[in-house]
Symmetry: C2
Subunit: 191 residues, 2 copies
DNA sequence: CGATGGTAGTCAATTTGTTGAGTAGGTGCG
DNA sequence: CGCACCTACTCAACAAATTGACTACCATCG
């Protein structure tokens, strides 16, 4: 129901092709909304049909032609109305948590490895966030940016993503310690 | 694809009816996997057909009969194998974040209210986690529990849920402050 | 020269997920 | 005594998401 608005929100950044959006949804938006390219192309079709976005074909010389999309006035109005409505509750699908929940009786070393992988992934994500943050700030100081910038929405969601990954990392550290104690990978400290 | 395993993992807690599972998926599991009752009933049907769970009908006197489900040996093996496989990446759908991303140009007071609602909801969730935690500990000290308890998976996922909600709350506090500064709901401090 | 990988998509099939209604008895409230 | 709410589901229809394959052309590496 609201991949629609995730797409419209992404188009606030400016004109994009479906392919561009697929990349955006893979890196930044994917923190709080995910979509496969196929979903995006379908959704763009529908949004253009409903007059919420405009499409124009760009002829290219050495690569396939592409269609670029922009928000229309109607699309922007719709998006702003959506932004003021109460959100539906957050939905999370985290297979790792199902695996952790079911870990007892299975191989603890395997679970440990999965958690370490997740932590490594979180670290990578934090690094990407930091780069994006610098890019958004554009040399300005954070306080100044938050006071004066035209758009702060993307920065606020960036903060949420960062906060989430930091919490993931802290959780991971705690769990690794617990597993090490319980299954003594670390050996006895007093020997 | 893995509502299947979320259900099997829930059955580690012991024999349950579809109705019981629906309640469990509404309170505890819903932190990292969600499902509607209809999905559960369909999934239970399939799992029983595949021999991963056993079903038995319990006749009841003053209420409808129910079917109780238990893990079979095959189901447990399948679950343990799943637990050691690499998870697919986490998928989050958070409408609030889409609204925050698109807030610029819309009504900031409305966004502010949505964030406060979310924070209130997080506080409620933390309180429920704390009750569940006490229940799991059953009077034991945490260190002791994590060393000796038969199952720690549910406790570890509980920790993750708590960690997530705490991070949500911290984020909310920061954002409220930013919005107040920017749109001066707080007025000038020096008056 | 062949393989790999990027751009920019489309199509079809299947699986999941969501919504709404229906059944059927019981309990508790005022 | 009537109404809402709880237990415990079932059915049907629809919407959304996922998977995999396919098209086509270009650039780059070895």
């Amino acid at each position: 129901m609201s991949l629609k608005y995730a797409v419209l929100a992404a188009l606030l950044e400016g004109e994009s092709s479906g392919y561009d959006l697929a990349k955006i949804f893979d890196v930044s938006v994917s923190n709080f909304w995910s979509a496969t390219p196929q979903q995006l192309y379908r959704e763009l079709e529908r949004l253009a049909g409903d007059g919420l976005i405009d499409a124009r074909v760009v002829q290219q010389e050495r690569r396939p032609n592409k269609r670029m999309f922009t928000l229309t006035e109607a699309g922007l109005r719709d998006l702003h109305a959506f932004a003021a409505e109460p959100p539906r509750p957050i939905a999370i699908r985290d297979e790792l948590m199902v695996k952790v929940q079911a870990m007892d009786g299975a191989d603890p070393a395997a679970t440990r490895a999965l958690i370490e992988e997740r932590m490594e992934w979180s670290r990578g994500k934090l690094a990407r966030y930091e780069r994006l943050r610098r890019h958004l700030l554009g040399g300005r100081d954070e306080t100044e940016y938050l006071r004066d910038a035209e758009r702060i929405g993307p920065y606020l969601t960036l903060m949420a993503g960062r906060s989430l990954e930091e919490s993931n990392l802290r959780w991971g550290e705690q769990v690794l310690e617990i597993l090490d104690r319980r299954f003594n990978y670390a050996g006895t400290t007093g020997t």
